[in-house]
């Protein structure tokens, strides 16, 4: 099912290469094993002493084991990419891919952990049970609204950072993009009207970040598939029970001053920014609606693989800055700019959690990084090839964790920047060495390099 106009069939190629390599990651030792006798250090009898020490002081597990740099990428497979509920085994390739990116961009050892705990309480119990093995948890591809409950509760119950990338990752990179977009159009984000179209994981988390960033809730309108989240909406009391997160937004935003049942174009009338994180387009957001927005409108259409509105359509309708989730258009809103650095940072200071303010710190650092390189209408966010971005995010997040008293270790911005550069750099150097020595076989089928 290659997209129209696309020369490479990524789906077919992907299956062939997944089969050829038998998955994507493996574990490799990082200590000297010169002779069998070395195992007396790394295993019995020597290892008994680290074990004894950790047993007395469990926090020592962050010093004496690989826990400090190891996270679990956890999914129940209930909402995988745009594929829906495809089960834990189906989710495995995605989690493994995430683990690959974690290692490559953040130097983080990530373990794919897919499981059958569909019930939220069981899911949470699983996280509590595996906590001793990991320095952090990255939740992934869990259906909404279950994902909100699991994240909120896990953050309370666990003493290691828990992050749901579909919420905080997407929200943080979107916030970064918005910060710079508002700078370019010369408006104050805190005095602007922002419409969030789609009330799934990404936009509900974005709402929370915007609020924490200082945007008054009344300036925000959130729409789900039934329309504006409004305190006078017919199903409002049902939402209180079934989806307290939407309920809270309806109450706090007061429906952005609209009437319940007002159509989307009414919500967009005079709006300064639209963030659509809903379902694949095109045509989900109409040109006529964008045309009703304020001058110098900002439009983020984040659905994959096809944005809610094509960028050129949004531009024709008067939008000045357009961002999408795609790498083949300018301004890609991409989680991968955030999560490797965030985890690098929290792991390096042995943080106990990741707060919303730490996510905002990541967003501000991303925005600053792009600004230093000169922001333009078609460059509001760094691209993934800008390697320096990951240590920068790590440093910003680590310092915030220390500031908030949530880190087990202290650090400074420059110290963490150096450390993150070193760890990520070393990972890549090791990889380059293995690759250039031919220890990873060349792919038997490939795509043209200019693709």
């Amino acid at each position: 099912m290659a997209e129209k106009g696309e020369k490479v069939n990524w789906y077919e190629l992907s299956v062939k290469l997944h089969r050829f390599y038998g998955g994507k990651i493996e574990t490799i030792p990082k200590v000297p094993v010169r002779r069998i006798k070395d195992f007396a250090i790394w295993y019995t009898p020597g290892v008994a002493e680290p074990s004894r020490l950790i047993s007395k002081d469990p926090d020592l597990s962050f010093e004496l084991t690989s826990r400090w740099n190891t996270i679990a990428v956890v999914s129940d497979g209930t909402r995988v990419l745009g594929l829906g509920n495809i089960g834990p085994e189906g989710a495995y390739p995605v989690m493994e891919g995430k683990a690959l990116i974690f290692k490559f961009l953040g130097g983080v050892d990530a373990v794919p952990l897919v499981h059958r705990a569909r019930d939220p309480e069981k899911f949470l119990e699983l996280l509590e049970l595996i906590e001793p093995a990991f320095g952090g948890i990255n939740l992934e591809d869990i259906e909404s609204p279950k994902c909100f409950h699991i994240l909120d509760e896990a953050r309370k119950r666990l003493n290691i950072p828990v992050w749901h990338d579909d919420q905080q990752g997407t929200a943080a990179v979107t916030l970064a993009g918005l910060i710079n977009a508002f700078k370019i159009v010369g408006k104050d984000i805190r005095k602007s009207r922002i419409v969030l179209f789609g009330a799934g994981a990404a936009n509900i988390a974005l709402y929370r970040l915007l609020k924490a960033y200082g945007v008054p809730p009344e300036n925000i309108v959130v729409l789900d598939s039934k329309g504006v989240l409004h305190p006078d909406r017919e199903d409002i009391d049902k939402l209180m029970i079934s989806h307290p997160w939407k309920y809270q937004i309806a109450i706090e935003t007061k429906g952005g001053g609209l009437r319940p049942g007002d159509p989307i174009w009414k919500a967009l009338e005079g709006a300064d920014a639209l963030v659509a994180a809903s379902r694949p387009g095109p045509g989900v957001i109409k040109k006529e609606w964008v045309a009703k927005m304020a001058k110098d409108a900002i439009v983020f259409a984040e659905a994959n693989p096809v944005p809610e509105i094509w960028p050129w359509e949004a531009k024709e309708a008067g939008a000045r800055i357009v961002a999408t989730g795609r790498s083949d258009f300018p301004n890609q809103v991409n989680n991968s700019l955030v999560f490797p650095g965030v985890f690098r940072g929290v792991l390096d200071v042995r943080a106990r959690t990741i707060t919303d303010t730490m996510a905002i710190a990541a967003a501000e650092e991303l925005a600053r990084f792009a600004e230093e390189r000169g922001i333009r209408e078609d460059y509001i966010l760094p691209t993934m090839e800008e390697w320096e971005v990951y240590p920068r995010v790590a440093a910003a997040v680590a310092v915030k964790a220390v500031e908030e008293g949530l880190a087990r270790k202290t650090t400074t911005y420059n110290e963490e920047l150096e450390r993150a550069r070193r760890i990520i750099g070393l990972t890549r150097e090791k990889y380059e060495t293995i690759w250039s020595k031919g220890l990873i076989p060349k792919p038997p089928v490939d795509y043209p390099e200019n693709e």
């Binding site: 305190p231 006078d232 017919e234 009391d237 309806a250």
Partner: protein
């Protein structure tokens, strides 16, 4: 303790539409908790006639008025138990506050005004009925010193 600017009073003729809307919202909310609470097709109309009866003085009804906007209401009827010492009970069957006014003590205000009204009529016991699964109501009444009292069983015939 209570939201400033809220007036608790009996419903009036002019409250008809607003009161009917609150009644409807109350039932729609409880529909969530038990299939036996499924709304009738013409529930809107029935809510209007119920509002008329409350305005005419059936049972006890108190509304919370915020500058002309009805933000909530409570309604109870009187149940007689001739043989009991407490021969009359006020049974709260409906209590609703609009979402945007919640958390400000309005429901508590409504409940207290209702208790004052029934007590001045010589009724010494107030009970509340709600679907078993309605944990919101259960939490509300438990916090206000109500205790579990009756069990109601249901079977379709």
């Amino acid at each position: 303790m209570y939201e400033a600017g809220i007036v608790y009073r009996k419903p009036l003729e002019g409250d008809r539409e607003q009161l009917a809307n609150l009644i409807l919202r109350f039932y729609r909310f409880n529909e969530e908790f038990d299939p036996a609470w499924a709304l009738a097709g013409d529930a809107d109309n029935r809510a209007l006639s119920l509002a008329d009866r409350y305005i005419a003085g059936e049972g006890y009804t108190i509304v919370a008025d915020h500058e002309g906007e009805l933000t909530g209401f409570i309604h109870a009827y009187v149940q007689e138990y001739p043989l009991l010492e407490n021969s009359k009970q006020a049974v709260i069957v409906e209590l609703y506050v609009k979402p945007q006014y919640r958390g400000r003590g309005i429901a508590t205000g409504l409940l207290e005004k209702l208790m004052e009204a029934v007590s001045s009529d010589g009724i010494s016991v107030v009970t509340a009925m709600f679907p078993t699964a309605n944990f919101v109501a259960e939490r509300f009444y438990s916090k206000r010193k109500f205790r579990r009292y009756l069990q109601i069983y249901l079977r379709e015939v």
